[in-house]
Symmetry: C2
Subunit: 330 residues, 2 copies
């Protein structure tokens, strides 16, 4: 294990001062072209890599973003992360990824870890049982930018990047209405999630306004298993003609229930979901869905972050529009 390559090693080897070497490597105008060349050549040869800890300590600017999601094993978050990572690396940034497990206590630990590591900014999708959102303010006020995404806190004056939850739910509801599905079982996720609230409100409002007599039946499921069970139970006494699924998780549970119940899609039951897009395509027939793309959301979030870092610090709320993707399930 050889000695680490530092500016000092290069400088002594060339009979220069450390500061000259440092400046030469950054193309500082004070340094002559000749020495710049010499320094850069040797640095290249010795495979010099600046010690980021020293750099950060000195300059107090970090090249790391924190990214906190409830869980990583989720197609939506995955694609979000994927998008952010792509762009971050292009900017010379690197990602510190943490999962809160949907536990606000762990989420706080994650935030601490981010602060401790002096990250340049945080991408945060809040845990479901999020506590007082005031905690976030402390970080923001201390100068640590947070871009909230997907499940965002109920705070004004902060940066949020969200799928168009209301729009998606409205599109879904209108699609169902236009298809004249009168007996709808609508399964939403965890009630504590801000997304659930937003989507449900818009969904029901659309029905009230455009089809007041349809009266969709609302259920909540916070897991695939739960969604499967709810669906099966519901069919014991009722015969809905449509099931709406708020998420991939729920869609999967519902699909398994249709297997159990031996239902033909769309003859026996039609189905519509809100999804990132991967899962609906796995089924036969492919499921119709309103797209909320994690990838696009990631790109938008990263854009917002870099804008913020470039001085546009006033809070923005960005909405990623939704589109309807046709399968053959309706």
């Amino acid at each position: 294990m050889s000695q680490p390559i530092t500016l000092k090693r290069i400088s002594t080897q060339l009979n220069l001062s450390i500061s000259t070497v440092s400046r030469a490597l950054k193309n500082h105008p004070d340094i002559s072209e000749a020495t710049k060349r010499k320094v850069k050549e040797l640095a290249e040869l010795m495979e010099y890599e600046p010690n980021s800890y020293a750099v950060n300590l000195r300059t107090n600017v970090s090249k790391v973003f924190g990214l906190i999601v409830p869980v990583i094993t989720n197609l939506f978050y995955e694609s979000f992360i994927s998008a952010v990572e792509e762009d971050a690396r292009k900017l010379g940034f690197t990602l510190m990824i943490l999962q809160s497990g949907n536990d606000s206590m762990i989420e706080i630990d994650c935030l601490k870890l981010c602060k401790q590591n002096r990250v340049a900014g945080i991408f945060l999708c809040c845990a479901a049982n999020a506590t007082q959102p005031e905690i976030y303010l402390k970080y923001i006020e201390s100068g640590l930018p947070i871009i909230f995404f997907d499940n965002v806190p109920d705070l004004d004056s902060c940066n949020k990047v969200c799928p168009a939850d209301e729009e998606a739910a409205t599109i879904a509801a209108n699609t169902i209405i236009h298809n004249n599905k009168k007996h709808v079982l609508a399964i939403f996720g965890n009630r504590e999630l801000s997304i659930t609230g937003k989507r449900m409100a818009a969904f029901l409002k659309t029905f009230e306004e455009n089809a007041p007599k349809f009266n969709p039946v609302v259920k909540h499921a916070d897991s695939t298993l739960k969604a499967r069970q709810i669906t099966k139970d519901y069919f014991k006494s009722k015969q809905p003609d449509h099931i709406f699924c708020m998420s991939d998780e729920i869609l999967i549970g519902v699909m398994k229930a249709t297997y159990d119940l031996n239902l033909k899609i769309p003859q026996d039951i039609s189905i519509l979901a809100i999804s990132n897009g991967f899962i609906p395509g796995l089924f036969n027939p492919a499921i119709n869905y309103v797209e909320t793309s994690g990838y696009k959301l990631g790109k938008l979030s990263m854009k917002r972050m870099s804008d913020h870092l470039n001085g546009q610090t006033s809070p923005h709320v960005i909405i990623q529009p939704s589109i309807l993707v046709e399968g053959s399930s309706m």
Copy 2:
């Protein structure tokens, strides 16, 4: 944006020296209980967080692991990452996640980023078109431990944690043989991947040894789309009674082909895959698969990493055994 909380701020406030405060916070025996209490109380109150950059610079030990995968949007890697993150956080470590996009050039960039950030160790799943594995040796020799996982380089004397690729393929082959499937279409992944080679060799060897007359037909697909097309093309002239899928990616393509061809499973065609476990359960009937768990592999890899960091530096090759999970597709 207030002043950052440093040891100095605490020390001046308490009329102590910086070193005393530092030691008090770490329970150094030289410090009296009384002052320890005072210091800790104030530190708590002021929400002191040690500057990890300064700590690292001074101690030269990092609390960050690098983790490089081809892509993050892959159920196997996801669950791997999830497992590693869980355990890493428990050890006070944090994860720097990078994706190489299966491009060895980007992979080198990622490695550089890791080195630059002075990570404590790297978890690396090599890109498909991996170049000379000697590059890795340079890092290892410089004292940066690398735990290779899943797609590992052809190097002796390095730490590898792999699914039991041969075993999984052997189990798969034997299962197919025992079910007396004589006309097998076996679709494998990218030929350049070490996994592909290993799985294919073991698969074919098992057939040769246990059923020399079966002669499975081997195809390669490096995408879902390709697998779908290959399957459909094959059915134009042949009528296999079984399809073996080396990966989730391929399984999905094959399933879509069965939709296109309107094949009943298992009556018209039986199917067996090697998988992480999530995807096979989405279909109806559920697909039989040989499990190679990313989650378990992650746990093993993390274990290996911490053992290594604790001094067990001799190279290990760890194999994660495979098990057969029954669905209803055979």
